[in-house]
Symmetry: D2
Subunit: 389 residues, 4 copies
């Protein structure tokens, strides 16, 4: 069985999730498309990198991400850094002929994404952007039902991503609140996941209409000891300005005729990772809530009048990816499984020399949608979404 | 105890609901503010009216609504007709000095609503528009929490009203699909309820941005035997054109600084009377779903980190209107109770010589919001909402 | 249309519910089987009775229940008193040839129930015991599915009735905590509803095995101003002994081969009127929770592997009783509707000269089950349940 | 950081889950108590073992489990075999001085469990039985609340474990349906998890009263290619007898005065891994459903009357184990995380030279409860549960 050496850039929350995926993927998917070897991990300092290697099971460590990209032994570069580093690393990795998986959003802007997209297309490497939530088995099941026509022609899509980990004004000013690093706020960080799901399920966006709000204009400067997401509340120390959005609301016209809305906020007390969508079709409806991610709710118009209603389907062996996960439904899918499936599909594409979705083209298209949303919010007008070609 | 004679115009679904309310109100609210006497009911023919009187417990019946309005014995005129008759009846009743409760939406347009509003103001009669859902005890509890500051300053509001009773193209062309009678479709029929709740909980609208869609352009002509809502599916007979909206999506800027969205559709398979809202404030959140109307979900930011989460509160004697309803929570509130409470508050205003909300001013304001939504959908632009004064 | 004069004994919570049912039944069910006339109401004093007549819409009032039973103008006697009066009133009413509806439990013991049963059988009058919850449309839909074989042969039944209105030791010593009046505690007051549902859905009981607990041995003596259920908490005054059960747990063997459990408690904080059951059959399952009473959850084994799951069916016009209630599902059924349906079925039996379920035979059988449960709890052994014949 | 070599016996579903735990534990819990080294895996044949080693990341493989137990390089023996092998392996491993973790149930009978318990006590090795579900963070949070007195003195416990993977008569006769291998059916396989949780939350059992049923007396003989749980349905081939229970119902008296019930079935269509409990205390209630395992519902009696209700708490960094799992709640816990936490606590005990719960003493006590349940079902009587000492 083929082994592929992975160089992972970044040992934070995402580094952990990806390391888990590499270790666990063959345990779940067997025979595996290839066995990921945790070869080298890069972090900000030699010391951090060495610790990350021990913790995450990598053979080597470095504080120089360029050495990873340039290492001939490395087959795959995995970019798990803050957003502002994605482009530089990805372009270098593409030029070095590495297959690349990048965390989302692909880039801070459409223009930045385009450079990355052009680089991987030119290099001909397998590329993927880590919109992992579409790999939740229940979301993949929704896709299957839609593709089969089980709910007919899609009329409307209603999506949300609501969180509250930074709803307090005392939540620190992590990089996710800084435009220079993150590109945008709730839009890029969380709304993009729902945009990706909307594209996956409904298709391309024709135009968007949006509002963006920054509810907490200043946050405490983050101490060095803060955790990856900055969820540790700050104290009475100095504060810095937030220059990204806390909330975004949109209306959408899809190219295929459906309409929709996507809303995302970081100020929704009581919501944790509330990724939801409701899709209405001419023959039925589908509802999903990631906080109860083992479940998909589906209503078929064709069910008898006395027995029609949303079916709560617990995904398991009978559903997408299910036979390779756990042997019965509701043993339960966590965040890790979405990443394990993602790794499987990425390594399958490498092993088979095919492409995978969502790839850098999808990430670029999503970045163009983000740009249109920002423009709409600034101009108070509908804005057309250009295609990537 | 004072008795007040009611003249009810219309013996359909709403006539039934209002008759129930008049009979039951003193049973629940005791001492009652006044005892409603079911005096006269008007229907389209003498025969229908006589049958309605027997069924709904009225002393007299007539096929001439004007005779009700002009009857000196009548204290209260209740308008439970299709929308196009609201204005004429209400204005006549106001001129006759009757107290008036009208079904919603108040009128087909803002201009029509203004005439009605002017008439009741000029007459000095007590007036009410039957946006009954804000009288669901759980909704009134949400209002109480907001007024107490329990969730802080409101940041955003997300409301829906989703139904499926007419999702089939074979659902007949009842008056609710005809602009001349109804004024609008999902907007006036159902979205207005959520607009009313949004005004109740968040305050006035500054401006709106909207899309409207008609998914089913033709429906079977309705046979005379169809029920009030036209839920009996038609056959292969002739079809007529639908000239109102099946779905409306909006973005909202509230005068107080909050933002929001309201969406309504009649094509949401699996949704029946899915009136929902989620309100995020700086100190907590509130979530409601009328399909589970005994429950209000509230999250308080001030709860301890290890025990914070949405509380599912079953409304009962400890909550608004509760001590007069059923002795323990979850014995259960149905549609009837919203109307019983409505009748109570209306008769209280009459007995005490005060005003009540939502009144014709509220109905007029909602009609202006509806007008702005229609204009926005036609112009693809944000539209300011004028005040009623 | 035939009119039947009702004499109602008791103007408390149940008197209110029954009065509502009589007023509303023809509004919902039309043509009505007969029109209930609220003729006479009896209460403990002339003053209370007169007030109840005004409030509940009765023509006359009395403090002497015997005068109601003996009044030739009365067709129907409705017993809505505390339990210890049921037998005496019912037997007198039967002897006077009145049709009778009695609140539940029918009697304090099987022996007492037998006397009542014998009396109505001898008199040949229509008789009913008010186990209203089996008339929740969703419960009736469960019955329909079971009768159609939609979930196959029943294997097991799991039922609960959990409440918390008296979970506090400061909740007063109302009659419901006094054996001489109530007969038993949670068993007779609430568990019997689930026993009735179990008999309705699964069939007769073969034998039972039970535990009973009294968690709060003393409660404050009730002030005269307390409400019907005694939910107003007492103060520091004198306390009296509770001599009934707060909680009962059982295991059940059904005559048809299924097994089951029924549990009821008044000490379940957070539960209000938590009547639930889950029925497993060889071809599917049914789940119900009265706190969300518009919904029935059904899982059909025959659904495809990729789309099997509990369907959440909102009862409405397509379901039992639905076409006569509200025109679309989730407008919502409250406690009142269960009583309105009950009244309809009772008056239908009178009008048609048939019998109705649950009748005094059912109430007697349930009392025998109660006796067996008490005996099992006292003897720590399985106890056979005798049949009523 | 200390490294400990693990020898894993069994490469099926549980072998996968444990391998994942060993790889992932340090990624989550850092600094780790020790680093588990996947040293040797044993399977039924050399070929299967070699494949398992590649798949699960072990350095060596063998078809001889005794060689694992006897290997001086091995620190930890992990028993992930069918139940009938637990005792022999565990006793050998204890005698060889290995620390031991065994899958549940510990043994087929109390007598067998006693031998295992005696062996580990005599050897002085760290020992654990893998009742993983009590390590679900929400269950650990329930324990924390109970220990803090947040819901007062416990009155009652109601637990279920309902599944449907073998509800069809065509589900094959895997070892789980054979008494000689499994010991018992639903009792040992699934009810024991709830028994373990009940002991964890409420305390020791005083006595039990039970019923057991075998609904499907014959099942198709399993083909060699069937999966670990035998979820692949058989065909028309020969069938063999099931000699274990499909369903068990119990009533429980706890030593501390509370009462309870535990029910488990494999014939509950629509239930997948429906491990639930509801605990009522004098000051509140706790409800859990593993199918929605990120959530714990808690009702505090002390909350204000207008805001009391079950709080749906999504476990995360503020809850037990949470700071080491995922950075925000509802990213989501799957089955794997329960095993990762289990591995953490087991290795912590080894590293610190302490004991861990549930250990072989707990497993032995649970086996004694199982024995009492079986005896009760056979004798139709309450049976006292002996203590392990």
């Amino acid at each position: 069985m083929k082994q592929l050496n992975v160089g992972l850039i970044g040992g934070g929350f995402m580094g952990k999730a990806h390391s888990l995926a590499y270790a666990a993927m063959p345990m779940f998917f067997w025979p595996a498309p290839a066995i990921p070897v945790r070869h080298t991990i890069a972090e900000a300092s030699d010391e951090l990198a060495a610790e990350a290697a021990l913790r995450f099971g990598f053979q080597r460590s470095t504080s120089d991400w360029r050495s990873v990209v340039e290492d001939p032994a490395i087959d795959v570069v995995d970019i798990a850094t803050p957003n502002h580093l994605h482009a530089e690393i990805a372009i270098a990795a593409a030029q070095a002929g590495k297959h690349i998986i990048s965390e989302k959003p692909l880039a801070r802007t459409g223009a930045e994404a385009k450079e990355m997209y052009d680089a991987v297309v030119a290099a001909g490497v397998v590329n993927m952007v880590a919109f992992n939530y579409r790999r939740t088995p229940a979301v993949a099941l929704a896709k299957k039902f839609i593709d089969e026509g089980a709910i007919g022609r899609i009329l409307s899509f209603r999506g949300t991503y609501l969180q509250d980990w930074s709803a307090s004004p005392d939540s620190p000013l992590s990089w996710r609140f800084q435009k220079a690093i993150a590109g945008s706020g709730a839009l890029g960080d969380i709304a993009t996941h729902v945009i990706d799901i909307a594209r996956y399920l409904v298709g391309e966006f024709d135009s968007v209409n949006a509002m963006m709000s920054t509810w907490i204009p200043e946050r405490p400067l983050q101490s060095s000891g803060a955790d990856a997401l900055g969820t540790v509340r700050g104290g009475d120390g100095p504060r810095g300005a937030v220059d990204v959005d806390d909330q975004v609301m949109t209306m959408i016209r899809f190219a295929g005729g459906a309409i929709g809305s996507i809303e995302a906020t970081r100020n929704g007390y009581g919501r944790n990772n509330f990724i939801t969508f409701e899709v209405h079709g001419t023959e039925g409806s589908i509802v999903f809530n990631y906080e109860r991610r083992d479940e998909l709710q589906v209503c078929f118009a064709s069910d008898g009048d006395d027995r029609r209603g949303f079916r709560t389907i617990y995904t398991g062996p009978a559903h997408p990816y299910g036979k390779d996960l756990w042997p019965i439904p509701a043993l339960g899918i966590g965040y890790g499984e979405t990443k394990i499936i993602e790794a499987h599909d990425f390594f399958t594409a490498i092993a088979e020399g095919t492409s995978v979705s969502p790839n850098f083209g999808d990430g670029y298209q999503t970045a163009l949608i983000d740009d249109a949303i920002v423009e709409s919010a600034e101009t108070d007008a509908w804005v057309d979404v250009p295609g990537i070609d």
